[in-house]
Amino acid sequence: MGARKIEETINAGIEDLRDTVRSYFDKGYNHIVTITGIDVGENIRLLYHMANMDGDLVHIATETSKKSLKVPTIIDIIPGAYIYEMEVHDLFGVNFTVNPWMKFKLLLPDCYPSDMPPPLWKEVDAKKVQQSLFSIESPACALKEPFSGVSRLSPESMVVPFGPYHPALKEPEHFRLIVEGERIVKAIPRIGFVHRGVEKAAESRSYLRDIFLLERICGICSFIHSWTFVQAVEKLLNLKPPRRAEWIRTMVSELERIHSHSLWLGLVGYWMGFDTMFMWIWGVRETIMDLLELLCGNRVHKSIVTIGGVRRDVTKEKLNTVIKQMKKFMKEFKQIMDEVLSYDEFIERTSNIGVFSAETARKLCTVGPIRRTIGDPYDIRKIEPYGAYEEIGFQVVTENKGDVYHAIRQRMREIYESARMIEVLAKEMPGGEAVPKRLFMGVVPEGEAVARGEAPRGELFYYVKSNNKHNPYRVKVRTPTLANITLASENLKGATLSDVPLVITAIDPCFSCMDRVAVYRKNTGEMFMLTEDDFRKLRRKWKP
């Protein structure tokens, strides 16, 4: 499982779409994975992928013609869906009535030529879009009103820009924080500085090349992207990868989870000004990176998975090294975490910060460790097992409160669980062939498949539609950060300025992954533009 072919869809007309969604929502399918748009000639087909907590998916399909492009919104039924509606609005031009976010650009730059149809329509040539965007002289036009959406709430309030070029940020995202003293009154995220159009690019490449392309969506959880895509393609081909290959994939995936989580734990230390923790954890993380290099030959983009198996087999000696090094890692890591968690200041600094309730998290369809922090055992590895997860068995780690401290504990315990799994995987690795005789170069028969995987940050979703060709007809990616970003901006309200990095970090954001589907939010209040003159006026006031 994990991946499945879409055998049947629930077809709904535009009129009864809302009723259908509501009836499935009431049946327990209360988690919307994403909304996929597909260009099918004259019409735009929309697939609403809705999941329940037991791993079942339903696909509600509806179609709207390219001339009318009107679909009723479902955000009053599932509030977390608004971001997916915005995404479809930008990429396919579909208007959701009445979604208040529709008037804003989501993903495209503001200077996207108005005479050109939305970019994921088949008649749009990617080259032409590129040329017309390059011919625009000022790059600033991508964001025409840089300060729009910032309304001053009171004379004492002040706008503190946070990013996109901030010494502390590793990725270009931008938060405008309206502060009163140290307290944040409003946080307005603006993301979308590294959008590269990966989904469009995937349509023009062969399946084999797509693996390497999609792997580059994220630099941290790169393996799970390629694996999830490959799972969907294998379902379309009715291909079952060898057992040994599945075990190797699972092992790499769990190593990647440890590397991602320990990277995050180190960053938590960094964000809260605890440099020593940062250095220590990143120091032991090197062990994991070395293991990944040993197994895959690469540290960052593992490139080990291929359609029908893996590209490299592992030897017995390598597995023994893995076992030995994991023991060493666990010993050092446990020691560090014991020391860190016995530090009162650390606990004080992290608990009751960025608090969110289970209801909010469920309402906004949050996924991954941050969802498990509040106690929902929502883990794709468990509810929809893939790879070797069902065979080796593992526990879903959960905590019972939504704040930064529990998010730290959650990820720490997930590392322990993953380390245990890796040891089992390395010790009981089945024999047999893992590398396919030749790389897959053929055509994929017509069909649609979806695949879900548990990336370190949460549920990762792939939709692949093939049509008897060498390249896919449509690839749709939903990264976990997109599902979680709504929660982060919700949590920022009421925090202090010194908590900002921690609160944003709590969801383990990966903004560049998301920038295939950038988020652009504006509040509807009074527009206020902070110019140089304002600064000068303020300065004059300050002069004695």
């Binding site: 010494p167 000004g273 605890f274 440099d275 250095m279 600094r349 202090t496 600064f535 300065r539």
Partner: protein, 322 residues
């Protein structure tokens, strides 16, 4: 006379000596923090990278200096100069080799405390010379922090002077020559003073005014080149100055066994060892601490440190009749 004056001001214990101490402490801090964090630290310039701080300083001096738009040029230029001058000036009053320097006078203890507070004025000026969000939030935090730690710093130091019934540095040393170092009577006061000194030096856990993850470099953000070099030097100089004050007040500065009243090398050695000891305390705290929150700052001082100082006050009262 004029020769001695110039020597005092420019070489010892004035500019050259203070800067040498500043670079030495900076190297010590970088090396120790690196070792605690399982790194190596400076390595290549000089033996074990000992000359690295000097090299960094000289390199920064030769870098391009960018003058931001809408800057108050006078304050922008004045602030770094003021910042480095104040601690060097203060160092002239610290007895390092003998019990007296040529500048000491009755009541100089108050002067060094005043100078100690005055350096915050220089950094606040540096921040407000350019009005940008990072600098203004940085200076805001600096002033909040100042208002919290300064009273405790002054209070604990004044308790020492109170016990010795003197307002001169010479008087303090004389008292300690007879009764032993004041840290024996006032360990709590010393602890609070060290805590306040860390806050004053803006080192973790009290590095709020230039918390890079939140407000870039805080009040330092708009500086580059020469200005930045001097402001960085200022930080190390004020560490030297602050540690020297503590060494004189609580550890009797240059005094020790085999000390003679005439200026000797022994005094310098004792002074060096004592400053090293205090510096090690500060650096070790700094290397393992996580930054406090803005609201946690007041809690640290008003809730945790205030009772200690009050208790110390009672002891100091009692100790007067020893």
């Amino acid at each position: 006379m004029i020769g001695e004056f110039l020597f005092n001001v420019l070489v010892f214990p004035g500019v050259l000596f203070s800067c040498a101490m500043a670079f030495w402490l900076q190297w010590l801090e970088r090396k120790i923090v690196a070792r605690v964090q399982k790194r190596i630290g400076p390595k290549f310039t000089g033996p074990s990278g000992l000359l690295q701080p000097i090299y960094d300083f000289l390199k920064l001096l030769s870098k391009e200096e960018i003058l931001p738009e809408h800057v108050d040029k006078l304050y922008f230029r004045l602030a770094p100069i003021l910042a480095v001058t104040v601690p060097v000036f203060g160092m002239l009053f610290i007895p390092i080799t003998g019990v007296k320097t040529m500048f000491n006078f009755e009541g100089d203890f108050l002067l060094i405390l005043l100078l100690f507070s005055f350096s915050v004025f220089a950094t606040a000026t540096a921040g407000y010379a350019v009005f940008s969000p990072y600098t203004s939030v940085g200076v805001g935090r600096l002033v909040v922090q100042y208002s919290i730690y300064e009273s405790f710093m002054t209070l604990s130091l004044v308790l020492a002077a109170f016990q010795a019934s003197t307002l001169s540095i010479y008087g303090l040393l004389e008292y300690q020559m007879l009764k032993g170092p004041l840290v024996l009577y006032q360990p709590l006061g010393f602890a609070v003073a060290v805590l306040a000194l860390i806050a004053k030096l803006e080192k973790p856990p009290f590095d709020l005014p230039h918390a890079k993850q939140e407000i870039a470099a805080g009040w330092l953000t708009e500086y580059s080149g020469r200005g930045l070099a001097f402001l960085k030097l200022y930080k190390d100089l004020s560490m030297v100055y602050g540690i020297s004050i503590l060494a004189v007040t609580y550890f009797a500065g240059p005094l020790g066994p085999m000390f003679s009243a005439n200026p000797t090398v022994m005094g310098l050695i004792y002074f060096g060892l004592k400053t090293l000891f205090i510096a090690l305390i500060i650096i070790l705290i700094r290397s393992i601490a996580a930054r406090v929150r803005v609201y946690g700052l007041a809690e640290h001082f008003w809730i945790k440190a205030a009772p200690l100082v009050l208790f110390q006050m009672i002891i100091a009262f009692a100790a007067r009749w020893l």
